[in-house]
């Protein structure tokens, strides 16, 4: 479903990704772990198509299609979703209106009519319940004044609305207390099925107790230096990363 081949990327003159290979099949959950500055967030941004990263070598493929030159919004239409580590605050646009715009733009791109208002409201209600989001929250400006936990919950709410094929969760656990973590993880697990895939980027093993990965990869200095099953995460928790670095 998602295939990353020998991916090299840089920002300005600094090479950050130095040859990443990764294949994610439908129904799988992959975890990418690694110390600060190893390139985790860059990898997430490159998959989502952020323009200030330059891919110098290699490719990202979604269902066999090379995503080079595909704009971020088109990647979204094709089923890529990035849950941001730091969701941007946008005063003046409510969560609901933002979601309506996003859904209808996606539908437009797929040649579909706009979603009828009633259906949209039903969908919003259903998905917000999944994330235990208060109705009042939906009329607030997007991420403005949200707590860390509310922001992350809102990201997963958007994921639930957009139903992506591949969701990349970038440090979704940071800033969450244990209750919020459980709600978010529960949301992700309910959205998970045999046809979609999740890539969890995290520092800590904690989130992986709730979202159980099929594979764990360790990213260091722009490369995957070790891959394994979920037991690897536990080992990392215990030993840290240093033993892998050489």
């Amino acid at each position: 479903m998602l295939k990353i081949n020998n991916l090299h990327a840089r920002v300005e003159d600094k090479e950050i990704l130095k040859g990443i290979n990764l294949e994610v099949k439908p129904g799988e959950v992959h975890a990418i772990m690694g110390p600060n500055g190893s390139g985790k967030s860059t990898l997430a941004s490159v998959i989502a198509g952020k323009e200030n990263f330059e891919v110098t070598e290699g490719s990202v493929e979604l269902e066999g299609e090379d995503l080079e030159d595909v704009a971020p919004e088109e990647r979204a239409h094709k089923g890529v979703f990035l849950s941001f580590q730091y969701p941007v605050e946008i005063p003046g646009v409510s969560v609901t209106n933002f979601m309506k715009t996003a859904i209808n733009e996606s539908r437009k791109a797929r040649g579909l009519e706009e979603m009828p208002a009633k259906e949209m409201l039903k969908l919003i209600r259903e998905k917000s319940e999944l994330l235990e989001i208060d109705r009042k929250f939906l009329s607030r400006s997007l991420n403005e004044g949200f707590s860390g936990g509310e922001k992350k919950r809102n990201e997963i709410f958007q994921m639930a609305m957009l139903e992506p094929k591949v969701a990349i969760l970038d440090e979704t656990d940071s800033g969450l207390d244990i209750d919020a973590l459980r709600i978010v993880a529960n949301g992700v697990n309910k959205l998970k099925n045999k046809d979609n895939a999740v890539v969890v980027i995290t520092h800590y093993q904690r989130l992986l107790e709730y979202i159980v990965p099929d594979y764990v990869h360790v990213l260091h200095n722009g490369k995957i230096i070790k891959s394994g099953t979920k037991e690897l995460a536990l080992e990392l928790e215990e030993k840290g990363y240093d033993w892998l670095k050489n």
Binding site: P72, E73, V80
Partner: protein, 438 residues
């Protein structure tokens, strides 16, 4: 003939049409003298450094338009806030249109300056208020004072509130090749009175129009005045708006200025706080393109203690448009515990657009809170990427961000139908098809 000479020499002809025995005559005579001495401001005047009237001064404006310019309501309906019932004071080429207006004397006076200036029953009030807060020094205000004859007259007695908002609309028909109009408005809210006013200048053709308007607003103790200026005129219409506000203790006056169109707009908005616990609010949304120019000059004069002022102006400038924001705050020595906030944020969406922004604080008291901030920027790239990553195309994402940026100022608009109108105007100006209803 230069416009100044034409105006000065027309003054006598104008005076012959009005009552020379009226006490206003003397005020007018003084005013024309001041204008004759000073003339139109030029770029040499600090306050006009970035706004030139040169091109306007060369146009041979007609000063005395014909009286018989009728227009049909259906042709201009869209310029009214027709979604709700309002009082209307309408002028066509500077002349009152009783056909399009809806005035009242039912407990409050919503009527005409020409009546107020000539009828004995208004004499006392005119003597108390007319030209009392307007500058006697500023030349364009003097020019308006010299020719003051028509405009809106609104008097709300103690504790009263008109049943509905009041619209003041000046239409220009284009029957003259070029027309200069000088509306003169007087708004008085007595103790504990409350009212809402929407003012609009609308040219109906592409012929040149120059409006030099003066509005005096008096808010007595505990009065609440909401004033909305909708500036969305044609490409050849220019507006110089001089608004002077006198506030007494505990009053709250809010002026919202929406500048979306016109050739040249100059807003001189002046607040004078003569009492304690006064709240003065100025909000502005400016969205310009083409070669449009807007200049917001605000002044808040904090004279007494424990008062507040809030200024929030947002601007989006495209194509070759230019903008100016000059916000002056004076805090007198007596005015301790003043809270004065000023914010001016701008987005330039074209390399050829420009904005000059300048806060000007003169603080003589030592226990005050004053803050000011100006920003000039492009759109936030991270925000843009965030929206795109949710499937919103770049063009729509940009528009949505600009919409959100401007829209934020509208929270304080207290007429919901007007808010929706302005929302839609903003969306239209930004060329966005929002995926949701407003």
């Amino acid at each position: 003939m230069e416009l100044k000479d034409k105006l000065v020499s027309s003054f006598m002809a104008f005076e012959n049409t009005v009552d020379l025995d009226s006490p206003i005559h003397e005020i007018r005579s003084e005013a024309i003298k001041n204008f004759e001495n000073k003339g139109f401001p030029t770029k040499k005047d600090e306050a006009w450094k970035y706004t030139s009237l040169n091109s306007l001064r060369k146009i041979d404006f007609s000063i005395f338009p014909k009286a018989d310019n009728a227009i049909e309501y259906k042709d201009v309906k869209k310029y009214f806030l027709h979604e709700i019932d309002t009082y209307k004071i309408v002028f066509i080429d500077g002349i009152y249109s009783s056909f399009l207006s809806e005035t009242t004397h039912d407990g409050v006076d919503v009527c005409l300056m020409s009546s107020a200036l000539t009828k004995p029953m208004y004499k006392q009030i005119i003597e108390l208020y007319f030209n009392k807060v307007a500058s006697k020094d500023e030349s364009l205000t003097s020019l308006n004072t010299a020719f003051s004859r028509e405009g809106a007259y609104i008097y709300i007695p103690k504790g009263k509130m008109p049943k509905k908002p009041i619209e003041i609309i000046n239409f220009a028909t284009g029957n003259e090749a070029s027309l200069m109009i000088q509306p003169r408005n007087l708004v008085i809210a007595e103790e504990n009175a409350e009212l809402q006013i929407i003012e609009r200048h609308q040219s109906l053709t592409s012929n040149a129009v120059l409006t030099n308007s003066v509005t005096e607003i008096f808010a007595a103790k505990d009065a609440i005045v909401d004033y909305y200026k909708v500036q969305n005129d044609n490409a050849n219409a220019s507006l110089i708006d001089n608004t002077y506000i006198d506030q007494k203790g505990n009053s709250a006056v809010k002026v919202h200025t929406f500048s979306f169109g016109g050739k040249l707009i100059r807003n001189n908005l002046n607040f004078f706080q003569n009492g304690e616990h006064i709240d003065s609010t100025m909000k502005g949304v400016t969205i310009l393109g083409e070669k449009q120019h807007v200049d917001h000059h605000t002044l808040v004069h904090h004279i007494e203690p424990n008062c507040e002022s809030h200024q929030d102006y947002k601007g989006i400038y495209g194509e070759k448009s230019t903008g100016v924001f000059n916000g002056k705050i004076i805090v007198e020595k007596l005015a301790q515990k003043t809270n004065a906030f000023q914010q001016n944020n701008n987005i330039l969406i074209s390399d050829k657009a420009s904005i000059n922004t300048k806060p000007q604080l003169e603080i003589f008291a030592d226990d005050v809170k004053c803050s000011h901030g100006c920003t000039i920027g492009q759109l936030d790239e991270d925000a843009l990427f965030y929206l795109q990553s949710r499937g919103i195309p770049k063009k729509e994402a940009r528009a949505l961000l600009m919409y959100a940026f401007a829209n934020n100022v509208l929270e304080s608009v207290r007429i919901p139908e007007l808010k929706t109108r302005i929302n839609k105007l903003i969306a239209k100006k930004l060329g966005v098809n929002l995926g949701f209803d407003l």
